[in-house]
Symmetry: C2
Subunit: 301 residues, 2 copies
């Protein structure tokens, strides 16, 4: 089924203990769409500047990602510069240049209006709500957000949250959004705000899905080295929503599988800078790692 | 099969955001033996002072714990006073009085020498090694340790580690012991030091078992409130070793089950101060929570 991502496209400059990369493709819509493209056709709504050239569009085209919703406007593309130290659980932002992203107003091409699965990447919640309202045939919509919007625009965020089925959120941000330190209480609080399903991403500790009647927890795939954690959350979302859109099934048991696919895709993303590892996935690699997570969690009843 | 714990018995005074408790029964041998007593007969080697009265011994006797190895000597019992703030992941020690524990030299009653499963709680690694050497009929031995010994007595700890099959250790301490930040690398490093099986305890994030040929990860049981985390690690060890001794089976698949039993027992421990919830377990509660963890981790292949 059709899957649409609305979010950012950026050029990231990143330093980690394992190396550095300059002005590589990044942004929530980039990580999401490249990950989801392994499951289902994906379309993107985003904005780029004049410095976003054909070679950059080509990266998406090579993954058959529909970029008709990506506006190219005068100015420079969003840039982010960050650094990871020590255990790499926290990005330290060195520089943010919003550029054309500052005045981003998502424009949905008419051909996209029959979209059935929608991912609202981490952007202004007012824009998220407007985008959400443009669609009438959705099977499911998911939203991601961050501390900046939680603390700065709580009322607008609450309105957007009330319209989606699924929230994907980091552990710390779930605590901030709910005012609850305990994750079970935090999820229950958030479920009352709208989303029936709350997926709490816990980085190297995995992810937990809170459904109306059950909890599911999946580990992160154990890696010997995390090269660059940038985009892991959006990549998780891409694997998660990609599997849902591929199957068209939003039952609890299928959402559990989707969490594992999210974990699998996230594990590939962090093995190299940017989307390079995700672009290079070989047939069977996703399923092999899915089975490895099955083995990793298996015990006899 | 027979299970012996060597460790501390203490009176703990604890403050958490949910209340406080004064001079309640604690110590590694206490949490371990009470937890393990739900699986198999347990015997204890420890030391207490003259203030450790019959009512205290009675707590253990009520769980059929063999206390012949507990020496009662002149002086006061080990006391620890601590506090947990905010997210309760870290104990802040307010006061430590080693008292009779300072000159503890474990004495193994002859009747204990045919012990098959041994748990060396977090004590001086020289004592751990001496205890380990006293036994010749062991099926498996497990060791716990902490930052104090890792940084202060690395060579003695290495000697003790070389003699055991299983190390149970916190995430942060695994990093410290191995000098590896990545947990997979940390476990591989530690396995080279002796223990074939390394169980890394990750608190609210669960536990991971590194076996020679596989990795297994179990979540923590999700609780709405952690009342007092004191003793969670030793309780985990008690459930883990209790299941191994009950079954006499140290295959990888049985160690996986043991990790889940460890997680189950740990989850009960933290619901009340000290061992009070562990003492009150009803028949079937352990198995019910074991099945809940099965459901919590289940997804279709």
């Amino acid at each position: 089924m059709s899957l649409l991502a609305v979010g950012s496209i950026a050029f990231d400059s990143i330093r980690t203990p394992h190396g550095e990369a300059e002005e590589i493709l990044g942004g929530s819509a980039t990580f999401f769409s490249v990950a989801a493209s392994w499951f289902t056709p994906v379309r993107v709504v985003a904005v780029v500047g004049e410095d976003f050239r054909d070679e950059h569009f080509q990266v998406f085209r090579d993954r058959s990602i529909d970029m008709r919703g990506v506006e190219r406007v005068p100015g420079r593309t969003f840039r982010w510069k960050g650094e990871y130290l020590g255990d790499m659980n926290q990005a330290h932002t060195l520089d943010t240049q919003l550029n054309v992203f500052e005045s981003f107003v998502p424009k949905i091409p008419p051909a996209y209006l029959e979209t059935e699965f929608l991912f609202l990447g981490n952007i202004d919640p007012v824009l998220q709500l407007n985008v959400r309202r443009a669609f009438s045939k959705l099977r499911a919509s998911a939203l991601d957000t961050m501390n900046y919007w939680i603390s700065g625009m709580p009322e607008d965020l609450a309105k957007a949250l009330a319209t989606v089925e699924i929230l994907l959120i980091n552990e710390g941000e779930a605590r901030m959004l709910s005012g609850q330190n305990n994750l079970k209480k935090a999820a229950a609080h958030i479920q009352k705000m709208g989303p029936r399903f709350v997926v709490i991403k816990r980085g190297e500790h995995g992810a937990t899905l809170f459904s109306p009647d059950s909890i599911f927890t999946a580990p992160a795939y154990p890696l010997e080295q995390v090269h660059d954690p940038t985009g892991a959350g959006d990549t998780f979302a891409g694997g998660f929503m990609g599997h849902l859109a591929r199957t068209g099934d939003i039952s609890d048991s299928n959402l559990r599988r989707a969490v594992v696919y999210g974990s699998v895709l996230g594990s590939f993303a962090v093995q190299e800078f940017g989307v390079s590892r995700l672009l290079r996935l070989a047939p069977g690699e996703i399923e092999a790692r899915y089975r490895e997570i099955k083995n990793l969690t298996h015990f006899d009843a």
